[in-house]
Symmetry: C2
Subunit: 226 residues, 2 copies
Amino acid sequence: MKLNEKIAILHKTLGFEDLPSDQLAPLAELSFIRFYQKGEYIFHEGDAPLYFKVVVEGLVKLSKSTESGKTYTAVMGWPGDTLNAVTLFEELPRFLSAQAIRASSILCIKNTDFVDFVFQHPPVALNIIKTLGRLVQTSYERILDMVAEKTEQRVINMLFMLYKKFGPTLHFTNQEMADLVGTTTETTIRIMGQLRKQGIVQSARGRIKIVNPAALEELGRGPFWA
Amino acid sequence: MKLNEKIAILHKTLGFEDLPSDQLAPLAELSFIRFYQKGEYIFHEGDAPLYFKVVVEGLVKLSKSTESGKTYTAVMGWPGDTLNAVTLFEELPRFLSAQAIRASSILCIKNTDFVDFVFQHPPVALNIIKTLGRLVQTSYERILDMVAEKTEQRVINMLFMLYKKFGPTLHFTNQEMADLVGTTTETTIRIMGQLRKQGIVQSARGRIKIVNPAALEELGRGPFWA
DNA sequence: CGCGCTATTGATGGTCGTCAACCGCTGTGG
DNA sequence: CCACAGCGGTTGACGACCATCAATAGCGCG
């Protein structure tokens, strides 16, 4: 992969938006790309974080499971999203697992290289703080969502959030939707059935198409997750 | 209030642990103290964040509500806890309300003064990043808790968390417990009743005493929130 | 002394998780 | 080319859990 492609990716990432390309070059040189097949795990909960990782291509699921087998998906990451802004600066183990939903390529930078770089560029540190701040905020909003809203409302909110991020066509199964919302597959299907009858979505095997986003926004009195 | 008392508070706060007192002095000089009565709001959801605020004395509830009246309490803050590490660096409005549960005194520093100070002290910025990272982590663990655990388990987990932070005697009402757990007062009372029968807690009007922390830890297979 | 807040208990119903069965598509291997 | 396995989708029945409503009791404070 060309250096300037790496730089282009980094430019869309985390807190590097404001940084001129020539300053990103040294960091890009320290990076390398790894490919993952569909279904392959990029790392597991509990692993030590040795690398800073950014999605270059594909789709990555960040999730967390209990012993009882329930899974909660925190983020669906696509190109430009980081897989671990958080644990990098600590010695803490990763608290989410990352799995490639589709074939994906990931840009990796050694932990220490990344931290050193951030230290030399204070504006980047500020951007990271901002990003984390927003992340905390959206987390609290999702908690409130869990506490206050019925499952149907939560599915609607999640659909709207995904619509804003990915556009009208979502390549997710109902299982994946359920893990995002924090409910079961069956319940998700039933609710999707309702929405289909109302002409708001269409759905086929592994594909959800949002036909009427306006109605979705109308129904979703939800928190407007970034 | 004496300057060195202010410095002492700042020392226990956020990312200032490693900073020598003489470096904190200029920041402390820019600060002032405000007192709040029991029940008084320190700020509301949606307010613009003009000040960085730290609890000096008392107890402050950070919570978020829906239009339907449900309230979720994110944090009970006591001396040394900040009320808004998060929104300071952005122009975003506050996303939590802060209410004094008991008479409290709060140290305030102008937004801009605080941000400038952080910029001049990179290690502080790093500490803030670490703190926010942990905050994100605990948020996700609470979400998973909501998704996966029954209410009884969640009450137990919350009791254990509060025990680790505040010690065996908790000055909270069942209403406040319910808001922390994300359930109703009645359900909380019923569960507390169970725990009382099992000899794990005692409870009186606005006071919960944890008699058998070991049993609590035993029951709480929970995430170990910091 | 009476009002308000907290605690407590019971009854009831709705939501949603769980179990079970079945269908249809897709990809794979004989 | 067909058979079959496996995955995702779909529907129904059932019941547990918990929110809600209602009523009451006790404590504390003005």
